[in-house]
Each structure stands twice: as C-alpha cells, then as structure tokens.
C-alpha cells in the first residue's frame, strides 16, 4: 500500500501502526535502486514529499533548522561551506533534486557525503514519533554499519546546523562526477576555535576523529601541529579494502586530505 500523508502527525501515526512493515519514502534514491535490482520490495510506503512542514528551512541566530525533506540541491545553496560542498558532490543534478540530507543520514552509508559535513559542524538531529521528539548530536546517531538510533516508529524531522563555524570539505574518488568517495573529509573550527575533523568511507559509519581533535585542542592549530594531527587521523581510522581502493591507500589519502584541509583552514 502507498500512503501520501499531508502532515507529520499522519505520517507518524501510520509508521507507529505499521512499524517495520512500512518504509518512509523521501527522495527514493536508495530504496528504489534496491527495488530495481530486486533486492527490496517494501510492503508499504509512506511518501513524505507532500508534507509542507518537512520542506522548511528556519533561520535562527547561529543555527539553521533543516526539515527532513530538504534536498541536496537546497543544501547546496546554503551559506555553510562544507555542507554546501558536500551536498553538491552527491550524484548529479537529478539525484540532488530528489535525495534528501535526512535520507542520507537515515541510510547511514559509511560513504555519506552529507554526514561528514554535518558531523564536523556538530549538527544535531531531531527524531520524532507519536511518543514525542528527541534530539541528539549526530555522532550519537550512527551506531554501526547502516545502523542508527532511529526506532521503528521514528523519522528524522529536523537537522540543526550551526552557521558560525568556519569549514572546508573535500572528497576523492575515481572520477570527478557521480562519485562515491574513496575518502571524504570535512574540517571545521568552532567559534571557540576548537577544531572538528570528520571522515567518511574509512570506518563502518562516518566518524569524528576525536584523538586528533584533542591533540589540536591541547597543542593549537598551526603549521607545526597539522602534520602530527594528520598522522593521528591515520591511526584513528579503520578503513577496509574494497573495490574502490585498498585500506592502505585510504589511510594514506586520509592523512593527505586532512593535512591539506587544515592548512587551508589556517590560511583562510
């Protein structure tokens, strides 16, 4: 059965009723691929595209609240550097018009482009069900390979992103376009001058590199500490060898990318 609720309450009511038997449909860019390849055949869909509340972007003093259906195309126009860059690197124009940031998080791909940017920005997610809403930092949301904190009756209603961080982002893959990353990385500096480092495709989930961040908090971010921080990142990640690249290469690449991004951030 296909449902097209007109507001969040209706959608949550349906999900609470059907639980695992229903799949939320945001952009569809992951689930329909699985269906096309005969790897999924959901019994029920709850289409979120016709819920106006889920399209909104609200501006506050130093944060943006992005509702669950904000697309990569929309996020690509936001004045948040690393998030805009990450969003514009997802797929091609057609995928970016369909796919949503929240969907990117819910899919919890280890290679999630948006996830790295949002992790480095200390973004929070709001998960809502008929039982109520709860908020958590994004790094508490990812549990394991394609596993998240989302319960069977919950949806991501909002992503809350600070606008006062300085940030940068980079991704390396086999081609310039339509790329799934070999490594993607985001770095950011908070208003209190703390450094954030996040990477994708180097562990079971997109991750923050806390050891390298702590090292920089203690020793400061400058030309002398950047290489050491990059070396700590190399030790902190646990990539696997796959069809995109070997684990060794991903470790090497991560060190280089983090070093370059931090150098740019110091110069900027």
């Amino acid at each position: 059965m296909f449902y097209q609720p007109k507001n969040i309450q209706e959608a949550l009511g349906l999900k609470a009723e059907l639980k695992q038997r229903a799949t939320f449909l945001a952009g569809g860019t992951d689930i329909v691929v699985l269906m096309n390849h005969g790897k999924a055949a959901p019994e029920n869909f709850i289409d979120l595209a016709h819920i106006p509340e889920l399209q909104a972007i609200h501006r506050h003093n130093s944060t943006l609240e992005l509702a669950g259906n904000v697309t990569h195309a929309q996020a690509g126009k936001l004045p948040i550097r690393c998030l805009a860059q990450a969003s514009l690197s997802v797929g091609g124009p057609g995928i970016r018009e369909l796919g949503t940031l929240a969907g990117n998080l819910a899919t919890a791909s280890p290679a999630g482009d948006g996830s790295t940017a949002l992790l480095a920005l200390d973004a929070e997610v709001e998960l809502t069900s008929v039982r109520g809403a709860r908020r958590m930092p994004l790094d508490k949301f990812f549990l394991d390979y394609r596993r998240t904190m989302l319960d069977d009756d919950e949806m991501i209603t909002k992503i809350i992103v600070p606008t006062n961080y300085k940030s940068d982002w980079a991704k390396n893959g086999k081609r310039g376009a339509m790329n799934i990353s070999i490594v993607a990385t985001a770095v950011a500096i908070t208003p209190k001058k703390e450094v954030r480092i996040a990477l994708a495709s180097v562990a079971a989930t997109p991750i923050r590199c806390y050891k390298a961040e702590k090292f920089l908090a203690k020793n400061g971010l400058n030309a002398g500490t950047i290489q050491q921080a990059a070396d700590i990142v190399r030790g902190e990640i646990k990539p696997i060898t796959d069809h995109r690249a070997s684990a060794d290469y991903k470790v090497h690449l991560s060190g280089v990318m983090v070093r370059r991004l931090l150098e740019n951030l110091v110069k900027a």
């Binding site: 059965m1 296909f2 009511g13 952009g27 860019t29 390849h37 057609g94 018009e97 369909l98």
Partner: protein, 173 residues
C-alpha cells in the same frame, strides 16, 4: 488501522493509486500501480518511449524528466511521487512541430550518435539553462554531470548546449 491511517488512505482500487498530474502540458488522471517507477509508467502505460532506462540506479541520466522544471531521474521515482506535479518528458519539448532550441542545436552540431543518452542530456540542459541562462563551460559540466554518453566524446554535446544558450539569449532580446 488507526484513525490517522484511514484518513490518509486514497480511494482503494485493488491497490491502485489514483494519480492526477500534468504531463507535457495536459492534465492526466489515471489509476496506477504505486510501486511502478515513473520511468516504466511513462514508457509502458503512457507510451512515451523517448525517456530511456539504462542503469536504473541514477548513474547515467538517460531517464531524466523535468518535474516542476527540475531534472529528476525517473527510474528512481515511484509514480505517486508526481501527484499534483508538472512532468515534462522529451516528447513535450517540441511545439507545433517546431523543435526546442536545444533539440535543434543537437541536430545542427551532430551531437547525437546512437541517441540513447540524448533525451536525458536535452532535459538536463533545459533545466540548467532555465536556472542559469549563461553558464560558463565549468557550469555546463556540473549541470550535465549526471548524464553519461558512451558513444563518443562530449565536445559536440557541449557545443550544442552553448549554441542553444546563445540563441536563447538572442531570442529574449
């Protein structure tokens, strides 16, 4: 079922979905299989075979259509997602037997070899030029990055798009 569920249920017709949308300028009202992709629906049910399917995973762009003016991969959409929306396929580009400027420039430049990618490319170019009438070469590359041509290079395709942009600029003046 709970109350909320009942309210949301469309008129149930053997699991079929009552779809209303605009297709190439005409209002369409039809019962559809809701798990059918928009691509299959357009080709099989509507007989509009200009839109192609190839990779079925969003990599190649041969299935692009315009939905409310935005390019979208019809192979990744389920039909009910276009409820109340405005869909334009390549068949909706020519008016009164006159080709769209982009189509005309593809012909003039010989930007077509086997032709399989062409409808998707023209749809992508249309969307790009609507948003940005004077793209730089770099902006063209980004706007067309979701489309793959496997016959040959992209030079003639880009040339056709650039000439179309020039001509559309002239027409406006």
């Amino acid at each position: 079922m709970k109350k909320a569920a009942k309210k949301t249920l469309p008129a149930n017709d053997g699991g079929l979905w009552p779809l209303r949308f605009t297709l190439n300028g005409k209002k369409v009202s039809v019962k559809v299989q809701p798990t059918q992709t928009l691509l299959d629906f357009l080709r099989i049910e509507m007989g509009l075979t200009g839109t192609k399917g190839a990779c079925l995973e969003g990599e190649c762009g041969s299935c692009y259509v315009l939905v409310d003016g935005k390019p979208m991969n019809s192979c990744l959409m389920l039909v009910p997602q276009v409820q109340d929306r405005n869909v334009t396929t390549i068949e909706g580009f020519a008016h009164n037997k006159k080709l769209d400027v982009i189509q005309q420039k593809f012909v003039e430049c010989g930007a077509v070899q086997c032709g399989y990618c062409t409808p998707g490319l023209i749809v992508a170019a249309k969307a790009l030029l609507a948003e940005n009438p004077h793209p730089t070469r770099e902006e063209f590359l980004v706007g067309m990055e979701g489309n793959i041509c496997r016959c040959t290079g992209y030079n003639k395709i880009l040339r056709a798009c650039e000439l179309a942009a020039d001509e559309m600029g002239l027409q406006k003046k």
